[in-house]
C-alpha cells in the first residue's frame, strides 16, 4: 500500500530505470473482479497488484471522474453505482441507477453520467454532483455498450438482444437513429476524430464500423484465426490508439486480441492473451494496453508499439472492467 505521491513517483522512476521496455510513467490501473466483489489496484510500472479492496456486489463497468478523484463502479447485483476515492480506496457514496447497471460513460464535461441498465431497456442519466437521476432514455432489449462522441453531442448505446446501436442526442436525451448491427453488440467507441464509431458484436463475431455523420456502415471487421472455431471468436472490448490508426479488439473465448488497421479494417495481428478476454484499457500515454481475462483470473499487458504481450498479472476472480488513472 502506497503512502505518499512522492514515494509512488520515486518507485515509478526506479522501476522504469530497471525495466528495459517499455519506459512508461507509473499509472494506476483499477480492475473490477466480478466474482470476488473486489477491485484490484495495479501499479502499471511494477506491473503488479498493489492492493485489493472490497466493493459492492458483482462489480462490472468502471470509469474515473473527470478530475480523477472518483472511481465510479457499477455494482450490478446491488442495482447501484458506487463511488470510491481513487487514492484512499475509501467508499464515498452511492449513486442511483436503474436495475442491473453494467457499463457507464461520462459526458466529456464531467457530468452527467450515462448508465446502461441491462435489465429494463433504459439508459439512465445521472447527475454526478447531486446524485440523482435526471431522466431515462428508452432503448432496445438489454442495453450494454456506451460510446460518447468526442464533442459530447452524441451518446451511442448498444442493445444486446435488439442488436442495434442507438444514437442519442445528449441535448434532448432522445434517440435520433438506430443502426442494426450483428448479434449481441457489446461495446461502442468513437475514434478521437469522431469520424468512426466501432461496435463489437459478440455472437455475430464481427465489429461494425459506422460513420457517425450519416450513420451508414463504413465496413465490417471480420476475424479468422487458424485452428480456432469461428463460434469462439467473440469480439467484446475495443480500444483505438491515440493517433486513430489502430484498433485493438478483444475476442473473448478465442483468447486473443486483434490489432486492426482502422483504414483498411483488416486484422494485422492476433495477440495471444488470457482466457475469455473482454474489456481493454490503455494507459493514459497509450503505451500499454491492459486486457481483462475473465476465466483465467488475470490481466494481460500489451506493449502497444511492439504489439507484444509482455506480462500477465493475477487479479481476483473473473476480472471484468478496467480503467487506468493518470497518476
Amino acid at each position: 500500500m502506497r503512502s505518499t505521491a512522492g514515494l509512488i513517483s520515486m518507485l515509478g522512476v526506479c522501476a522504469a530505470l530497471m525495466l528495459p521496455t517499455p519506459v512508461a510513467l507509473a499509472y494506476t490501473a483499477f480492475v473490477t473482479n466480478e466474482k470476488d466483489n473486489t477491485v484490484s489496484v495495479i501499479d502499471t510500472d511494477k506491473l503488479e497488484v498493489i492492493k485489493t479492496f472490497k466493493v459492492g456486489n458483482r462489480p462490472r463497468g468502471i470509469i474515473l471522474s473527470k478530475d480523477g478523484k472518483w472511481l465510479i463502479i457499477c455494482a450490478s447485483d446491488d442495482n447501484i453505482i458506487q463511488v470510491y476515492d481513487t487514492k484512499t480506496f475509501k467508499f464515498i457514496k452511492s449513486l442511483p441507477s436503474g436495475p442491473d447497471p453494467e457499463l457507464l460513460i461520462l459526458h466529456p464535461s464531467g457530468n452527467p453520467l450515462y448508465v446502461a441498465n441491462e435489465d429494463d431497456n433504459l439508459v439512465t442519466v445521472v447527475d454526478l454532483k447531486q446524485g440523482k437521476i435526471l431522466t431515462d432514455i428508452p432503448v432496445g432489449v438489454e442495453p450494454e455498450g456506451m460510446g460518447m462522441s468526442p464533442d459530447g453531442k452524441v451518446l451511442v448505446n448498444t442493445s444486446e438482444t435488439t442488436n442495434m446501436a442507438h444514437f442519442i442526442s445528449t441535448e434532448t436525451n432522445k434517440t435520433f437513429d438506430n443502426v442494426l448491427v450483428d448479434a449481441r453488440p457489446r461495446v461502442a467507441i468513437f475514434n478521437k476524430a469522431g469520424t468512426q464509431l466501432w461496435v463489437s458484436s459478440e455472437i455475430g463475431g464481427t465489429v461494425t464500423v459506422i460513420n457517425p455523420e450519416d450513420r451508414k456502415v463504413i465496413g465490417k471487421v471480420r476475424f479468422e484465426i487458424p485452428g480456432i472455431n469461428k463460434e469462439a471468436i467473440q469480439p467484446v472490448g475495443v480500444r483505438i490508439t491515440a493517433d486513430d490508426k489502430k484498433a485493438f479488439v478483444a475476442l473473448g473465448p478465442a483468447n486473443r486480441v486483434a490489432v486492426v488497421d482502422t483504414e483498411t479494417l483488416k486484422v494485422e495481428k492476433y495477440l495471444l492473451v488470457g482466457q475469455r478476454v473482454w474489456q481493454l484499457g490503455f494507459t493514459p500515454d497509450y503505451k500499454l494496453l491492459f486486457t481483462t481475462n475473465g476465466t483465467s483470473n488475470d490481466v494481460s499487458v500489451i506493449d502497444v508499439e511492439r504489439q507484444k504481450v509482455i506480462k500477465s498479472i493475477r487479479t481476483g476472480r473473473y476480472p471484468w472492467g478496467i480503467v487506468v488513472a493518470p497518476f
Binding site: P99, D100, E118, D119, N121, I137, P138, V139, G140, V141, E142, S159, E160, T161, T162, N163, M164, H166, F167, S169, T172, K174, T175, F176, D177, N178, L180, D182, A183, R184, I203, G204, G205, N229, K230, E231, A232, Q234, P253
Partner: protein
C-alpha cells in the same frame, strides 16, 4: 388472419380456442392495449431526427401462430415439477415482447395467436384455416404424429412450422419435412451432451434404468447410441415397471425407501446409474436410494436440458428476470424453446426488414442466419434437417454443472455437431432433394 393490427405482448391474448365472442373481445382488449403502448414507442423509437425528417411509416404486422395440443399426461412426482398452464406459451410471449422492443425501431409488430385443442384433427383444421388466411409462421407443441399430419395438411402453402415441443429424432430424420424446423433439442442431442460429460468425468460404466413408456424407450435408445459413440459401456439394463398412481399420497416414502435399494441390487460394478424416465414419474426416486452408492444421471439427478431457471451465464440473468416479470414463475425448457422459435422469426424480420415469407424463410435456412440465445455462441439451423444446433447445459437440480460439447470432442466443421445426428448419418432426404 383474423387478428391483424393489434397487441403488444404482455397483453397478448392467451387462448384463441374460442367462440366468436371471445375473439371479438380479445381483439377489442388488444386494440386497447395497442393505443396504450404506441405512446411509449414514439418517445424512444422514432427519435428526434426521424420524427422531423421522415413521414412515419406504417407498422408492419407479422402474425405468429402457436399450436398446442393438449395432452393428458400423468403428473410428475415432484411438486416443483408440476407444469404451469402456460408452459411454453409464456416463452413465446416473451419472444414476441423482445421482438416488439426491436420492432419499434423498424416499424414491425409481432402478434401471437395461440390455438389450443386436445383433438388433433380439430387443431389441424384450425391451424390450416389460419394458414389459408395468410399466416406464414406456426410454432408447434404437439405430438409427433400430429405434427406430421399438420405439416402435410399445410404443405402446399407458404408456411414454416417451428417445432419447439418435441424431442423426437424421427421428426428430424426419416420423417423430416422441408418446411418444418426444430428448436427443441432432440433426444440424441440430449443423450450425447450428457454422455460427453460422463465420459469426460471418466464415468464410463453405466447402469441403465428405463421406464415402460414409449418415450422412455426412445430416450434409452438415444442413451445406448451415445454410449457407443463416446466410448461408454452399458453394463446393466433394467426396466422399472410401475403402476401410475396418484402422484401424492400421505406418506409413500416408506415404501419407496425399501423398493429402490432392492430394485438396484446385485448390479455389476458401475460408475453411474443412467435413468430414462421422460415423464419424471419414478426417476426422482433413484438418487440417494440405490443399493450401491452411485450418482444418478439422465432424466433425474444430473440432466441435460435446453434450459433451466438457474442458468445465469451469457447474459442469462436479465433474460430470466424478464421472463419472471412476465410470467410470475421460472422459465422452463419448453418456454425457452418457444422463445427461440419466436426470436428466429423476429431476427429474420429485423435483418431482412420484411415480413414476407419469400424474404424470411430462405434467410432463416441460410448459413448467414445466426440466433443469439444466451448460450454463449451463435446458433444456426442444420441445413440437412432443420434442427437448431445449440450447446446443451448439464445441470444438477439447482446449478449449472457444465455445458456440452465437452472439450476434446472435436468436429470437422463445428463442435456443436458432435451433439445429435450429424450430416453423414442423417436419414432426412427432404432437404437434399
Amino acid at each position: 388472419m383474423a387478428v391483424t393490427k393489434i397487441a403488444n405482448p404482455p397483453d397478448v391474448a392467451l387462448s384463441f380456442a374460442v367462440t366468436r365472442w371471445g375473439l371479438a373481445l380479445a381483439i377489442l382488449l388488444a386494440a386497447l392495449c395497442f393505443t396504450g403502448s404506441t405512446r411509449g414507442f414514439a418517445q424512444g423509437a422514432a427519435g428526434a431526427g426521424a420524427e422531423l425528417d421522415a413521414p412515419k411509416k406504417d407498422v408492419l404486422a407479422i402474425p405468429i401462430v402457436l399450436a398446442r395440443e393438449k395432452r393428458d399426461k400423468p403428473l410428475p412426482l415432484s411438486l416443483l415439477d408440476l407444469p404451469p398452464t402456460d408452459d411454453g406459451i409464456a416463452g413465446a410471449q416473451l419472444g414476441i415482447k423482445d421482438n416488439n422492443t426491436t420492432g419499434q425501431f423498424v416499424n414491425q409488430e409481432f402478434i401471437l395467436d395461440v390455438v389450443e385443442d386436445s383433438d388433433p384433427d380439430k387443431l389441424i383444421k384450425e391451424i390450416k384455416a389460419k394458414v389459408d388466411a395468410g399466416a406464414h409462421f406456426v410454432l408447434t407443441d404437439v405430438a409427433p404424429t400430429t405434427l406430421l399430419k399438420l405439416a402435410d395438411a399445410v404443405g402446399e402453402k407458404e408456411v414454416l412450422l417451428i417445432n419447439y415441443g418435441s424431442a423426437d429424432d424421427g421428426l428430424r430424420e426419416e420423417n423430416c419435412r422441408q418446411h418444418v424446423m426444430h428448436t427443441a433439442p432432440t433426444r440424441a442431442m440430449l443423450a450425447d451432451a450428457l454422455a460427453q460429460y460422463l465420459v469426460w468425468k471418466k464415468w464410463r460404466r453405466w447402469f441403465l434404468v428405463l421406464g415402460p413408456n414409449e418415450d422412455d424407450k426412445l430416450f434409452a435408445d438415444a442413451l445406448r447410441r451415445a454410449a457407443k459413440r463416446f466410448g461408454a459401456k452399458i453394463v446393466e439394463e433394467r426396466t422399472f415397471n410401475y403402476e401410475i398412481g396418484n402422484r401424492r399420497a400421505d406418506g409413500g416414502f416408506e415404501q419407496v425407501q425399501q423398493q429402490i435399494p432392492t430394485f438396484t441390487q446385485e448390479a455389476p460394478d458401475y460408475d453411474v446409474l443412467v435413468v430414462a424416465d421422460e415423464g419424471n414419474l419414478f426417476g426422482d426416486y433413484l438418487p440417494y436410494r440405490t443399493w450401491d452408492a452411485r450418482p444418478v444421471a439422465g432424466t433425474a439427478g444430473l440432466v441435460a436440458t435446453s434450459w433451466h431457471p438457474a442458468i445465469e451465464m451469457w447474459g442469462g440473468t436479465q433474460f430470466q428476470n424478464r421472463f419472471k416479470r412476465l410470467a410470475n414463475r421460472n422459465m422452463r425448457p419448453l418456454d425457452y424453446n418457444a422463445w427461440m422459435a419466436t426470436r428466429i422469426i423476429g431476427e429474420a424480420a429485423t435483418r431482412k426488414n420484411s415480413g414476407s415469407f419469400s424474404d424470411l424463410a430462405p434467410f432463416i435456412k441460410s448459413p448467414e442466419f445466426a440466433l443469439s440465445a444466451f448460450k454463449g455462441v451463435r446458433l444456426s439451423l442444420r441445413d440437412w434437417n432443420g434442427q437448431l444446433r445449440q450447446p446443451v447445459p448439464i445441470l444438477s437440480p439447482k446449478l449449472l454443472v457444465s455445458v456440452s460439447p465437452q472439450p476434446g470432442f472435436l468436429h470437422q466443421f463445428t463442435e456443436l455437431d458432435t451433439l445429435g445426428v450429424d450430416k453423414p448419418e442423417t436419414k432426412c432426404k427432404a432437404y437434399t432433394q
